[in-house]
Amino acid sequence: MKSKLSIPAFIYAVIIFCTGSCSKKLDLNPVNALTPVTVYSTADGYLSVLAKIYGTLSITGNQGPSGQPDIGGGLDEGSQVAFIRGFFNCEELPTDEAIVAWNDQTIHDFHNLSWTSADPFLKGIYARPIYNITLMNEYLRESTDASLAANGISGTDASNIKETVSEVRFLRAYNYWVMLDLFGKSTFITEQDQVGTALPKEISRDSLFSYIENELLAIQTTLAPAKTAEYG
C-alpha cells in the first residue's frame, strides 16, 4: 500500500516540475552575435560600425576575400555587390576604355549601350549606395546627443564620436552623389526613417542636388581640417 501511494506522488511531482519552469524559457539570443544595446554601449562598438561604413566603399561583405555578402537577392557577390566594381562598370564599360569578355549574364549590355531595367549589375549598383546609406543612418541615429547619453557614452569617447558624425554625413552625401550621377532620381532615406518593410520615398533630381549641397555646406566647418584626421 505504501509503495502504491508514493508512486502517484512522484508522478505528480514530475508534472509540476515539467509544466512549471518551462514557460519563460522561450526568449533566446544567438550566442555569437550582438544586439544593438551591446554594440553601442562601448566606444569600440561605434568604431567597428564606423569601420564597416568606411569598408563599404571597397569590401563586399563580412568575410574576406569573399563570403557573407552585404547584399543578397541573388546578386553575385564579386561582380554585382561591390561598390567600386559596380561604379567602374557604369562609368567605364560603356566607353572604349575597357571590355569584359566573360559571359556573365548581361555584362555585354554595358558595351552595347543596351542595358535594361532588369539588369542585375544595375540592380547591384543601385542597391549598394542605398545600403551604405542605411548603415550610415543607423550610425547617425545612435550618435545623437540623446542616444549617446542613453547608451552611457560620455567624455572624450562622446566627443570623438561626434567628430565622426561629420565624416559619416560626408560619406552619405558622397553616396547620394553617386546615385545622382548614375540614376538622377533616387530612393531617399534619412536617419528619421525606421528599419522595416515599408516602401521608402523617392527624391527627384533637383531636390537631391539641393540636399547634397546642404549637407556638404553644413559639415564644412565641423570636419577636421585637411590632413589632420587619422588615416582611414
Partner: protein, 994 residues
C-alpha cells in the same frame, strides 16, 4: 475457538472446492486459414471472464476458465476475430487473414486507433509492405507505397538522403519536409545547411530492420495535433517492441551487388579529335589541336565500380523475468558504385515494456543507438569524368600523384584561382580522404499510469532524448590538383545535435456502451533543440594554418525551443458517427514574444455509411465518409533568431584601418521583427471503402490546402532594411488534389494468393500572392540558379504559377532539319528585339500525378513480388546538356580540351544558350523499383527454426522520354546537373526465425 476454526476451514474448503469444481481447461491450436501454418501470439480470451492466454510458437494454447464459460474470443492483429464455442477435446481454430484488416491498429498522433475508427487521412505501412531489397536508409522503405507521398532518393550514394513530399509540400522558403516522429519523439529532420556536418542523411542512422510500421498523416485533422510543424504532413515511425512469451530470435542477412547500368552519353576520342581538327583546319588556329592526346579513355568507366554490400540484423524478442523485451543488433556495410564511396553502420536497439502494479503502470523504454562510418567519395569526380578530354591517358609522370593534369608552362595546374579548372577525376577520388563518424542515440521512456481509483484515467509521461555527434576529416594532400596551390587542405570538423522532449498528458477514455465511447487527451509538451557547432580552421599538409579560414568564433550553440498544449476529444456514437476535435497551442522561440503563440484547431467527422445503411449486406464490408478541416503551422527551415536585430562581426580577413590599427566590422543583419509562422488551412473529404470482407479495399480523398503568411525571402525596396531581400511572411499558396488507393486480393486459395496495391494521386500547387505592397511591374522572384555563367537563374516564383516554374526563351527550330537554331528565339512580345521580356513561363518541375503499384503472388512456399512507381507531368531543366553541349565546352579559353555531351551533335551550338526552352524536357517516368522472389523453406535444422530465402533486383528498369541520365531529380528546382547514378542492385538474403 474451535467453532471459529471449524467455520474458517469450512469456508476455505468450500472456496477451494468451489474454485476447483467451477473450472475447466481448454486446449487447442490456432492456424492461419490460408496456409494451415500455426499462428503464434494469438490472444484467446474467455468470453465473460478475465482468463486469457496467448498461443505459443506452435500455435497451441491451454486456458483454464470457469466452468460456466461457453465461448472464447480469439483475436490477432491482421486477422478476423472469431468467437469459438468450447467443445470437448482440442479446439482447432483457423483464422482468416484480412487484407487491410479493419481491426488493424494504426499509430496516430499521440496514440493509436483502429483502422475502422480513423477520421483523418492516414495511411499505415507495416513491415510486410515495405519496399524490399537492399535498403540502407529508412526513408527508402516507403517509395511508391502511399498515395500522395513522394520519396525521391538523392542519388545513388549509399546512405544518402531522400526528398520526402506529402501532397506537394506547402512552403516556398521554409522547409517542405514533413515532420518525422520516431517512437513519440519528433526529431530534428534538418536538411541542407542545417544538416549535421558529416552526415548525409539523419535518417540513415536508424536500421530499417527495427521498424514495425510507418504511419503517414496527410490531412490537417490528423496532423494539427503537432501544431506549428505539421503543414507538410507527419510521418510516425514505430519500432518493433517485445512480445511476451518465449524468447524468439530472428536473424536477417543480405548480400548485394550494385552496378551502374547507364553512363552519361558523351563524345569519344575520335569525335573530339575530329571536331578539334576541323576547327584548326578551318581557322588555322592550332591552339587546341596541338593539345590532343592519342588515347581513347572512357572516364566514366574508370570512376565507377561494382559495389558490394552486406546487411545483417539479429534480434531477440520475448520476456525476461516477465519483462517483455526486444533487443537487436545490426551491421551494415555498403560500398558505393563511385569508387572510394562507402557507408557502414553498426546499430543496436533495445525495447523494454514491463508492467507494474497489476498492469496499472506500463513502462516503455526504447533506446536506439547507432554508429555510422561514412567514407565520402568526392562527387565532383562525376562532373569531372563526363567533361574530361577522352583523348588523354589517365596517367602521367608528374607531381600530382601520377595522374594526368592540364598544366601551365610553370608546372602548375591550369585554373583561375589556383585549383585545377579541369581536374582528373581519378585524382579527385584517390587523393581525397573524407571520413566521418556519426554516433547517434535516440531514447525515450514512457510511463503510462492507470489511476487506481479511476482506471479509465491515465497519466502518460514521455521523456525523450535524441543526441547525435559527428566528427570527421576531409584531407586533400598537396599532390591533389585542387589543393596543390595551398600545399594541401586538411579540414577537421565536429558537431553535436541534441533534442530533449518532455511530454506530460492526461488521457481518459470511457465506453458508455458497446458502441458509444469517447476519450479525452490533455497534453503539455516541451522540446528543446540545440546544436554544438565547432569551427576549426584548415591546415595544409605541413601543418601550417590557412589564415583565410580562421573562424571568427570557435564555437556556437544555435538553439530553439517549443512549448505546447494540446487538447483532443474523440467521440464515437453508436459505432456510426465519429468525431475528433483538437486544439493545439504552440509557442516557439523563433519568433518575438508578441508573435510567438499560435493556435491550431482541427476537427474531423466520420460517418460509417456501412453501419448506417448497409448493415446487413455482405458484399460491402466498409464504407466510411470522412470530413476533416484543420489549421497547421510551419516554422521549420527558417533561421532561429530572425526576428532579432543582431550585429555580426566580420572575419579576420575583412577589417578596416584607422590610424595604425585595424578594426573588425560590426554589421547589422536584415530582420523582420514581426515574423511569424506560416499557416495552412486544409480541408479534406475522403471515402474509405471495402468489399467482400475487405478483399477489395481502399480510399479516395479530395483535399485543398491554402497557405498564408508564406515565409519567403522576398525582394524589398533598397533602403527599407539592411538588405534588398528579407525573410518575411508574405505570400499565399494553394494546393489541391485527389488521391486514390486500392488494395485487393483477387485470388486467395489454399495454395495460391495474389494481392495488389495501387495508389495514384494528383496535386496542383499554385502561388496566389507574393507581395506585401502591390506592384504591377513585379514579375516574380528569380530562383533555381543553374550551373554555367554567373548568377543565371531559370525558375521563378510567380503569382498564378506553380513554384519553380521555368522562365525561358522559346527556341526556334530549322524547319527542314528540326535542329534548334542557335540564339534564335521567338519574339513573343513582337517588339522587334529579343529581351528578357520575351521569356515565357513554360512547365514546372513538380509532377501532376504520382503513382505506386505493388503486387505479390504466392504459390505454396514461393512468393514473387513487383513494386514500381511513376510520375507524370514533371519537367526538368537538363543543365548538363545546356552547360556542356556546346563547342566552347570542348575548346576552353584557358587552353585545355574538355569533353561535351553528345547533345552537341544534335544542336551544334558553339556558345551556351542556357535560357532556351530546348533544354526543358519531359521527365515523366515509370520505374520498376524491385522484383523480389522468396522461398519459405519452412522448418530447418531439426524443426528448430524456420527459414525464408529471398532474392531481389532493385531499380530494374525505367521507362521515360527524358534524354538525360535519370529523370528522377531530388531537388525541388528540377535542375539536372550530373547526379550520382542510381545503380541496379542484385541481392540475396536469408531470414531465420528460431
Amino acid at each position: 475457538m474451535n467453532l471459529k476454526r471449524l467455520f474458517i476451514s469450512f469456508i476455505i474448503l468450500t472456496s477451494i472446492s468451489i474454485t476447483t469444481w467451477a473450472q475447466k481447461t481448454i486446449t487447442g491450436i490456432v492456424t492461419d486459414s490460408a496456409n494451415a501454418l500455426p499462428l503464434a501470439g494469438v490472444t484467446i480470451k474467455a468470453n465473460g471472464a478475465s482468463a486469457a492466454t496467448v498461443s505459443g510458437t506452435n500455435g497451441k494454447f491451454s486456458l483454464t476458465v470457469p466452468a460456466n464459460i461457453e465461448t472464447v474470443n480469439v483475436s490477432y492483429i491482421g486477422y478476423r476475430s472469431q468467437q469459438v464455442k468450447i467443445t470437448d477435446g482440442n479446439l482447432s481454430i483457423a483464422l482468416a487473414g484480412t487484407a487491410g484488416s479493419l481491426n488493424e491498429v494504426v499509430v496516430v498522433a499521440y496514440g493509436t486507433k483502429r483502422k475502422s475508427d480513423l477520421t483523418g487521412s492516414i495511411t499505415s505501412v507495416t513491415a510486410k509492405d515495405f519496399q524490399k531489397g537492399n535498403i540502407v536508409s529508412s526513408d527508402q522503405l516507403l517509395v511508391g507505397k502511399v498515395a500522395g507521398l513522394q520519396v525521391t532518393a538523392g542519388g545513388g550514394s549509399p546512405g544518402s538522403g531522400s526528398k520526402i513530399r506529402i501532397r506537394g509540400g506547402a512552403s516556398l522558403n521554409a522547409s517542405n519536409d514533413p515532420l518525422i516522429v520516431i517512437d513519440g519523439v519528433p526529431i530534428d529532420n534538418a536538411t541542407g545547411a542545417n544538416l549535421l556536418a558529416g552526415s548525409s542523411n539523419f535518417l540513415n542512422t536508424i536500421d530499417p530492420n527495427d521498424i514495425e510500421s510507418i504511419s503517414v498523416l496527410k490531412d490537417a485533422s490528423a496532423t494539427a495535433q503537432y501544431g506549428s510543424r505539421a503543414s507538410n504532413g507527419v510521418i510516425i515511425v514505430t519500432t518493433k517492441k517485445g512480445q511476451p512469451g518465449k524468447v524468439k530470435f530472428n536473424f536477417n542477412t543480405q548480400a548485394s551487388l550494385s552496378d551502374v547500368t547507364k553512363y552519361v552519353p558523351v563524345l569519344n576520342a575520335d569525335q573530339v579529335t575530329q571536331i578539334v581538327n576541323k576547327y584548326a583546319d578551318s581557322t588555322g588556329d592550332k591552339t587546341w589541336s596541338s593539345l590532343l592526346g592519342k588515347a581513347n579513355t572512357n572516364w566514366q568507366d574508370l570512376i565507377y565500380q561494382d559495389a558490394f554490400g552486406t546487411d545483417n540484423n539479429l534480434s531477440a524478442s520475448g520476456a525476461f523475468y516477465k519483462i517483455p523485451f526486444r533487443i537487436s543488433g545490426g551491421f551494415s556495410d555498403q560500398q558505393g558504385v563511385l569508387k572510394t564511396d562507402r557507408f557502414g553502420r553498426v546499430s543496436t536497439s533495445l525495447n523494454l515494456s514491463p508492467k507494474f502494479f497489476d498492469n496499472h503502470l506500463q513502462v516503455n523504454v526504447n533506446v536506439k543507438y547507432s554508429h555510422t562510418h561514412n567514407n565520402f567519395a568526392n562527387q565532383d569526380a562525376i562532373g569531372a569524368a563526363v567533361s574530361f578530354d577522352p583523348t588523354q591517358s589517365p596517367y602521367a609522370t608528374n607531381k600530382y600523384g601520377g595522374y594526368f593534369e592540364w598544366l601551365q608552362a610553370n608546372g602548375n595546374v591550369i585554373g583561375t584561382n589556383g585549383a585545377a579548372a579541369s581536374p582528373n577525376p581519378l585524382d579527385l577520388l584517390d587523393i581525397d580522404y573524407n571520413v566521418s563518424n556519426v554516433d547517434r542515440m535516440i531514447g525515450n521512456v514512457q510511463l503510462d499510469y492507470k489511476f487506481h481509483f479511476l482506471p479509465d484515467l491515465h497519466l502518460i509521461v514521455n521523456e525523450g532524448y535524441d543526441r547525435a555527434w559527428a566528427e570527421g576529416d576531409h584531407n586533400l594532400d598537396s599532390t591533389s590538383a585542387i589543393a596543390n596551390y595551398k600545399g594541401g587542405i586538411f579540414t577537421h570538423y565536429k558537431q553535436g545535435k541534441s533534442n530533449v522532449l518532455s511530454d506530460v498528458s492526461l488521457f481518459y477514455n470511457k465506453e458508455l456502451s458497446a458502441s458509444t465511447k469517447f476519450d479525452v487527451l490533455l497534453l503539455h509538451s516541451y522540446q528543446d533543440f540545440f546544436t554544438n557547432v565547432y569551427s576549426i580552421p584548415n591546415y595544409n599538409q605541413s601543418g601550417a594554418v590557412d589564415s583565410t579560414t580562421i573562424p571568427t568564433y570557435a564555437t556556437d550553440k544555435p538553439e530553439y525551443r517549443l512549448e505546447s498544449y494540446l487538447g483532443r476529444v474523440n467521440f464515437t456514437l453508436a459505432n456510426k458517427y465519429l468525431l475528433t476535435a483538437s486544439l493545439r497551442r504552440d509557442a516557439s522561440s523563433k519568433f518575438s514574444s508578441s508573435n510567438r503563440v499560435g493556435y491550431f484547431p482541427a476537427g474531423a467527422l466520420a460517418w460509417k455509411l456501412k453501419e448506417e445503411f448497409f448493415k446487413n449486406t455482405n458484399i460491402l464490408s466498409e464504407l466510411k465518409l470522412r470530413l476533416g478541416l484543420g489549421v497547421t503551422g510551419q516554422q521549420d527551415g527558417i533561421a532561429y533568431y530572425s526576428y532579432l536585430p543582431v550585429y555580426y562581426q566580420s572575419t579576420s580577413t575583412a577589417q578596416y584601418e584607422f590610424g595604425n590599427n585595424y578594426y573588425y566590422f560590426l554589421r547589422p543583419s536584415a530582420y523582420d521583427p514581426n515574423i511569424k509562422w506560416e499557416t495552412t488551412t486544409t480541408a479534406n473529404i475522403g471515402l474509405d471503402y471495402g468489399f467482400l470482407n475487405n478483399r477489395i479495399s481502399g480510399s479516395i480523398d479530395f483535399y485543398q490546402k491554402k497557405t498564408k503568411d508564406l515565409l519567403s525571402i522576398v525582394p524589398i525596396a533598397p533602403g527599407a532594411n539592411f538588405d534588398i531581400t528579407l525573410l518575411t511572411n508574405v505570400g499565399n499558396m494553394t494546393n489541391k488534389g485527389v488521391e486514390f488507393t486500392l488494395n485487393t486480393t483477387p485470388v486467395q486459395t489454399k495454395t495460391f494468393t495474389w494481392n495488389l496495391n495501387f495508389n495514384i494521386s494528383y496535386n496542383k500547387s499554385k502561388i496566389t500572392n507574393l507581395l506585401k505592397n502591390p506592384d504591377p511591374s513585379f514579375t516574380g522572384i528569380d530562383v533555381s540558379t543553374i550551373s554555367g555563367g554567373t548568377g543565371n537563374t531559370i525558375g521563378k516564383f510567380a503569382v498564378d504559377y506553380a513554384p519553380y516554374t521555368f522562365l525561358v526563351y522559346k527556341q526556334v527550330y530549322d524547319q527542314k532539319t528540326g535542329k534548334p537554331i542557335e540564339g534564335l528565339y521567338a519574339d513573343l512580345n513582337r517588339d522587334g528585339q529579343i529581351t528578357d521580356a520575351d521569356r515565357y513561363y513554360y512547365k514546372k518541375p513538380a509532377p501532376d500525378v504520382i503513382s505506386g503499384i505493388s503486387t505479390q503472388v504466392g504459390y505454396k512456399q514461393w512468393t514473387l513480388g513487383l513494386a514500381g512507381h511513376a510520375s507524370f507531368g514533371n519537367y526538368s531543366y537538363n543543365n548538363f546538356f545546356s552547360n556542356s553541349g556546346v563547342l566552347r565546352g570542348i575548346q576552353n579559353p584557358l587552353h585545355y580540351i574538355q569533353n561535351v555531351s553528345q547533345n552537341y551533335l544534335n544542336t551544334n551550338f558553339s556558345n551556351n544558350q542556357y535560357l532556351s526552352d530546348y533544354y526543358i524536357e519531359n521527365a515523366s517516368f515509370f520505374r520498376l523499383d524491385n522484383i523480389n522472389l522468396g522461398y519459405n523453406a519452412g522448418k530447418v535444422l531439426h524443426n528448430a527454426a524456420s527459414l525464408v530465402i529471398t532474392a531481389n533486383v532493385q531499380n530494374v528498369f525505367i521507362i521515360t522520354k527524358y534524354k538525360g541520365l535519370d529523370p528522377e531529380i531530388a531537388n525541388d528546382q528540377g535542375i539536372d546537373n550530373n547526379i550520382y547514378p542510381r545503380p541496379r542492385i542484385y541481392s540475396i538474403g536469408l531470414n531465420l526465425n528460431f
